[in-house]
Amino acid sequence: MGRIVGGIGLSHVPSVGPVVDRKRESDPAWKPLFDAYVPVREWLAKLKPDVAIVVYNDHVAEFTFDKYPTFALGAADRYAIADEGFGTRPLPEVAGDADFSIHLCEELINREFDLTVCQELGVEHGFLVPMNLCFPHTSSGWPVKSVPLQVNVVQHPLPTARRCYRLGQALREAVSSYPQDLKVVVLGTGGMSHQLQGKRFGFMNEKFDQWFLDELERNPESLTSLSHHKIMEQAGAEAVELIMWLTMRGALSPNAKRVHRHYYAPMTTGMGLIAFED
């Protein structure tokens, strides 16, 4: 049986990528972030998940606005490292689990989530930075297989917060109905508060972010009524990525136990971390 054993909400700030590639994790400005992941990695090493489902958004690397899916699921045995305009990062390609992905596609579409199915998909910082933080790679690969689940959080109209949460609930049912023994973690990525354009560039709101973390732990259903407008107004236009954390939370049981939490906002993004064991 497939089983969801944990969920993590975490930011996917692109500048983390070069820090990892140049081994600058102990630089004073970055150490607080990477230190927060030490216990998370230890926890994950004990959980031993087989697969990470990564709920993320692409940043105009693989998906362009000519054709833009609302939800897209990877269904391949490998995912290339995409060049998002700054060169291809020196990372091993990401192993997928196509059989499991196909099962997810069948189950999710049967539950009326009409996904775009991707048999070829490159992944970029939205996917890779969370993987870097949680699952350190070696030259031969990554410690888990992955399933990328891409959400449109860029070109409005976006799926609602409630729709994202329900996708998580459907994902839980889909994972539970997988006939093989498989331990799964779900990563909900992006956010927290940030705005990257306009005169309000650099806007952050720690109070909102801490409130969101509190609610995600204790009262996640209430977050499903958040409008995109409210998130963007309170936490910056790009903070709307937080709806992807609701897919992660929806995939967990309501009483999943929070095991880690951290917040660090050095530059322009409230970088949040919350981990649940299920």
Binding site: S15, V60, G85, P157, G202, H228
Partner: protein
Amino acid sequence: MGISVREIPDTSIFDLRLSRRGKRLNRMCAALCSPAERDAFKKDEEAFMERFSLNEQEKHLIRSRDFKGLIEAGMNIYAMLKIGSATGNSLYRMGAQMRGETYEEFLKTRNISGAV
């Protein structure tokens, strides 16, 4: 009419109307995900812009590195990161310009400005 997004001060919300306006610009930026295209852009910016059928106003915004203007013309912020990279303008430099500040002034507003 569909339900469009409500405005937020000093904020651009990238919706379908803006995306349609910025289609040429965003297509050009998306091409910069290829090393060969980045070289082509750096070698002959004018020819590159011509190839993507930019209008005169759009060309002017690119030539003058007017990032605030490009966002208003429908360029998506993530597309803009690629043109920023190809022209030596980091996100934070573009951000400072959009705020109407120098890069140094902007850095002073940050909690830990070493995390770049």
